[in-house]
């Protein structure tokens, strides 16, 4: 049994193909930062607000933008690619070589996970340079929360791909899932501004929990174990579901 999970040639080739998709490049790498820049350009967003614990709305939107690239990549782009590979027989073709098609799946996960992290770093850098948003004061906790958020997004994407026979179905499921995911992450209403009950319920969803964990780490606290626990439980459940339902053809 070959247990090697990464094939650098496959990963390199998938990265090269990703660079040829202007749509994915924009929505995953550019759009989150663009959103932050647009919101940050509104003067009102740069004034301290008691709702944000004395921070400015633009500070509150940094974790939201960090999660945005991850949601679009994991929930919309990756399932589309994976389902397409299965639908077109790319996985089957690979099954006849000494390299297992699982290599292609893992390459996709590394690719979208990596792209989401690049996007997150870009958001943090632009936030810091353009709007003077303080970098996370508990960087290790921030890293842990972000890493778990990436895992949960990839696992959710894998489940969507497992449930979709065709790319049309995965596009449909993806766009149904992406809006609640973005809502919970706080794209329309950062968690700090949500009514208490709503914030609590959102905290039970993967991206709601991720947003709250990132906020805590940004403010210098260790992210609450409750939020990290929610992320971990979702990751385990979704990974289990994906590996159970995923079909190679």
């Amino acid at each position: 049994m070959n247990t090697v999970l990464v094939n650098t040639a496959v990963l390199r080739s998938e990265v090269r193909l990703f660079r040829r998709e202007p749509g994915s490049l924009f929505w995953i790498l550019v759009f989150p930062t663009t959103l932050l820049v647009i919101l940050g350009s509104i003067p009102f967003f740069r004034e301290a607000d008691p709702v944000f614990d004395g921070l400015r709305p633009v500070d509150g939107y940094v974790p939201v933008s960090v999660l945005l690239g991850l949601i679009v990549g994991g929930v919309q782009a990756m399932p589309q690619t994976l389902t397409g590979y299965r639908e077109r027989g790319v996985l089957r073709r690979m099954s006849t070589t000494p390299v297992r098609p699982a290599i292609l799946l893992s390459a996709q996960m590394f690719l979208y996970g990596g792209a989401a992290l690049v996007s997150a770093l870009l958001v943090l850098a632009v936030g810091r340079l353009a709007f003077d948003v303080r970098l996370p004061e508990q960087p290790f906790g921030y890293g842990v929360a972000l890493f778990l958020a990436v895992l949960v997004a990839l696992a959710l994407g894998a489940v969507i791909s497992a449930l979709s026979r065709t790319t049309k179905i995965s596009a449909a499921i993806g766009s149904v899932v992406v809006f609640p995911a973005m809502f919970c992450a706080g794209v329309w209403m950062p968690v700090q501004t949500m009514p208490d009950v709503l914030a609590r319920s959102a905290g039970l969803t993967p991206f709601g929990a991720a947003a709250q964990a990132l906020n805590e780490a940004a403010a210098g606290d260790w992210p609450g174990w409750g939020h990290l626990g929610v992320l971990a439980v979702w990751t385990v459940l979704l990974t289990f579901a994906a590996s159970r339902w995923f079909r190679w053809e």
Binding site: R88, V90, R93, S95, T96, T97
Partner: protein, 313 residues
Amino acid sequence: MTSTPVVEVVDLRKSYGGRAVVDGVSFAVEEGEIFGILGPNGAGKTTTVECVEGLRVPDAGRVRVTGLDPIADHERVARVLGAQLQQSELQPKLTVREALELYAGFYPAPADWRPLAERLGLTERLTTPFGKLSGGQKQRLFIALALIGDPRIVVLDELTTGLDPRARRDTWQLIEDIRADGVTVLLVTHFMEEAQRLCDRIAVIDKGRVAALDTPAGLIRRSAGATVISFTPSTPFDDGDLNTLPALAAIDNKDGRITLSGTDETVNAVLTLLARHHITAHQLRVTDATLDDAFLDLTGETQETHRTKETAA
């Protein structure tokens, strides 16, 4: 000297949803031959070779490729077996060159992709993305990918389907070249002409079973109407006399032209009969039946018995 077969299939069975698609198929492919699997659509040809390629797990039976189990020993089998699948694509934006380089990297001792690309006429297309290739170019790329691991066996499934006659002939030449290099070829097809021209031996598969296994000439000889005699008699003929001819397989009398199929024995008997009745046979033609005829004969018969069984039930 007896050599171990390169591919060995013994009593292979595979069902989908209770329907037996492959129902006890056995054959052995010897080193260096072009072995054909011929059969009507839905006969179980592709499922059979998918079991050989290790893409499907057989329900029962034994499959060995160079003595190895394609499921248990997948990686070792994949190193010596190159496959061109009936329906598969590559990433649409992957270029020809990138595909060749990527797949070459999957094998421990790959063939050099440059001469391979040249031989397949892909040199001009190296920077073209897969999605922009024509049907024929895609097929040629898949042949190249099947050969890139420098395999001992290649499995080609419905390779020439959808190609124009010219491209088809070029592909046939290519398959002969591949064999000339010492590679064993397992060729799945439903084109008689292709099988007749290329294959050393053919397994005719029908309804999940091997209906016959022989050389193309052997299959033709073995079918009931291996020889076809046609002529226009100078005076009308009594069909009754013709019906008593030895080894007669079929008879047809249309617009005064008689067409008979049978064996060499039938030919001699017809000539004797004509001479005895002082009849001149205008435009007398004696031709060998084609694999087409043999195939219809082989698969048609089973259809007949099948139908009778159904009516009986």
